[in-house]
């Protein structure tokens, strides 16, 4: 696969990720947590559970409920966001929760809920995949058993180039296509896949292949963050 050598507005190569920092276990009230910086994006995630699902009538006797709430702080975007959750936040919460549930052994925890709360504190495109990546780490930090981690990235097109990890500036390009995706890195199966924009199947395939590669890098960073966390916990 050929990757374009043209430089992007921020100087990155087509298949180059922005800088990503992941820290697990940052909050003492949550069962699991993660703080992640991905370029300008800043995300905090807390995980609670498995805990009894209440009120009782929402309980599922066959599995844990996975409740994923994605929200953006009012000041995390260029123009102040209305504090009320918008339809975008509701849709993202739904599909990202489903993506994670695909990896969790929910059948082991009947009648419970696993709550995953995400807050975006600063943003510059790609917040949903940043949050998903952080949430997978927070779930692991909480000791929730999973088939695999979930690693997420956004790929797409801007200014004629197929690229990974679009910035806001690139998302605003005339020909922009944004494809948020998340895979289980060991099986390479897709648990999240969305798309905005118009492109051919060939371009799409090229973008997806770049995304798969990027997810392996992200997976490495996730494992590294978890390793640090376990070493620190052992010392305590």
């Amino acid at each position: 696969m050929l990757v374009s050598k043209a430089k992007r507005p921020d100087g990155r190569k087509a298949d180059e990720l922005r800088e990503i920092k992941i820290e697990a276990g940052v909050l003492n009230r949550a069962d699991g947590s993660c703080y992640l910086e991905w370029g300008q994006n800043k995300v905090v995630v807390a995980v609670y559970g498995p805990r009894e699902a209440l009120p009782k009538h929402i309980q599922n006797p066959n599995k844990a409920l996975v409740n994923y709430i994605y929200r953006m702080a009012t000041f995390s975007v260029p123009e102040r966001k209305n504090p009320k959750p918008g339809r975008r936040e509701i849709e993202i919460s739904k599909v990202c929760g489903e993506a994670l549930e695909s990896a969790i052994f929910v059948e082991r925890f009947p009648n419970t809920t696993i709550d995953i709360f995400v807050e975006i504190l600063d943003s510059n495109a790609g917040t949903r995949v940043a949050a998903l990546t952080a949430a997978a780490v927070a779930l692991a930090d909480a000791g929730i058993p999973m088939r695999d981690l979930v690693s997420a990235v956004s790929v797409g097109r801007a200014n004629g180039e197929i690229i990974v990890d679009l910035t806001k500036e690139e998302e605003d390009a005339e020909d922009a296509v944004d494809i948020p995706m998340a895979i289980m890195p060991n099986t390479q199966e897709f648990v999240l896949l969305q798309m905005d924009g118009i492109m051919s199947k060939e371009e799409w395939s090229k973008a997806i292949a770049m995304g798969q590669k990027a997810c392996q890098q992200i997976y490495k960073l996730q494992r590294e963050a978890l390793r640090k966390r376990y070493l620190a916990a052992e010392k305590e």
Binding site: D196, G197, I198, S200, S205
Partner: protein, 267 residues
């Protein structure tokens, strides 16, 4: 309770049959249910469609409203897609504002249309920076027997295709008079698949939806472009499966597009 038992049996049946390569209603894996469309059924709507896809029924109405443009696109009209899963449509749907399922449905239909540039928003500008047309697409589920996504997409596209733009006089809408039809640049349609026991099924009926391990929808145009995608529900897809779905979507949506055109007398 009994409801649950019945569905559990139906799910068993779906899977049993699939293992023999058969669908519960006898269809092929890549076959749509019968599609009926009644275009322009509502007189008060500016455009409308009543869609039956098997026993699934969805109605959609288009209304044009006047509003201010967004500051960053002062010469463009706007689009607002809403969906309601009416309690009429299913014993499990509840009264109230759109829940997350309805929100996802509306937004996926919206993206398919918007990203295909089906609507030329510049033509919906009345006075730059001041007044534009807002296209409201309102979708109501009437009977949910599975695959509300495709039924809604078909209803929305048909309603847009028969929509007429109201006449303006002194900046106000003249009731029951129209200045012309809305013209569409592309005809994007959603094609939805369910994955069950590693089979990929087109246009899942309700029993199949309840059995599924993942939903995948792709919006495509008549010139084989992809304009939106949505993997939803719990479950995971292999790349190969997704690629096959895209190819099937190109092929199957063509036939649907033909039925839509017939429904509006354009064939």
């Amino acid at each position: 309770m009994n409801e649950k038992v019945i569905w559990d049996l139906r799910i068993e049946q779906v899977i049993e049959k699939l293992k023999k390569g058969k669908r519960i209603d006898g269809r092929k894996l890549d076959e749509y249910r019968p599609l009926e469309i009644k275009a322009a059924f509502s007189q008060n709507a500016d455009g409308s469609a009543w869609v039956k896809l098997g026993a699934t029924e969805v109605v959609c109405g288009v209304k044009f409203g006047l509003g201010e443009p967004y500051p960053d696109s002062p010469d463009e009209g706007a689009l607002s897609v809403n969906a309601e899963l009416l309690p009429i449509a299913s014993p499990v749907f509840e009264v109230g504002p759109p829940n997350e399922d309805a929100t996802e449905l509306a937004r996926v239909v919206d993206r398919g249309i918007r990203e295909a540039k089906a609507i030329d928003f510049k033509k919906l500008c009345i006075e730059e920076g001041e007044k534009v047309w807002i296209v409201f697409i309102d979708i109501y589920a009437i009977n949910d027997d599975g695959n509300l996504f495709d039924a809604s997409s078909i209803a929305a596209l048909t309603a847009l295709l028969n929509a007429r733009i109201p006449k303006l006089e002194d900046g106000e809408i003249v009731k029951k008079e129209y200045s012309g039809k809305l013209k569409l640049g592309k005809l994007p349609l959603l094609t939805t698949f369910a994955k069950i026991s590693n089979f990929i099924l087109l246009d899942p009926c309700l029993a199949e939806e309840k059995s599924k391990e993942g939903r995948f929808s792709v919006a495509t145009t008549e010139d084989k472009k992809i304009t939106a995608m949505q993997k939803g529900e719990v479950g995971a897809f292999k790349l190969k499966e997704l690629e096959n779905c895209i190819d099937l979507a190109f092929e199957k949506s063509a036939a649907v597009r033909k039925t839509i055109k017939e429904s509006i007398g354009e064939d």
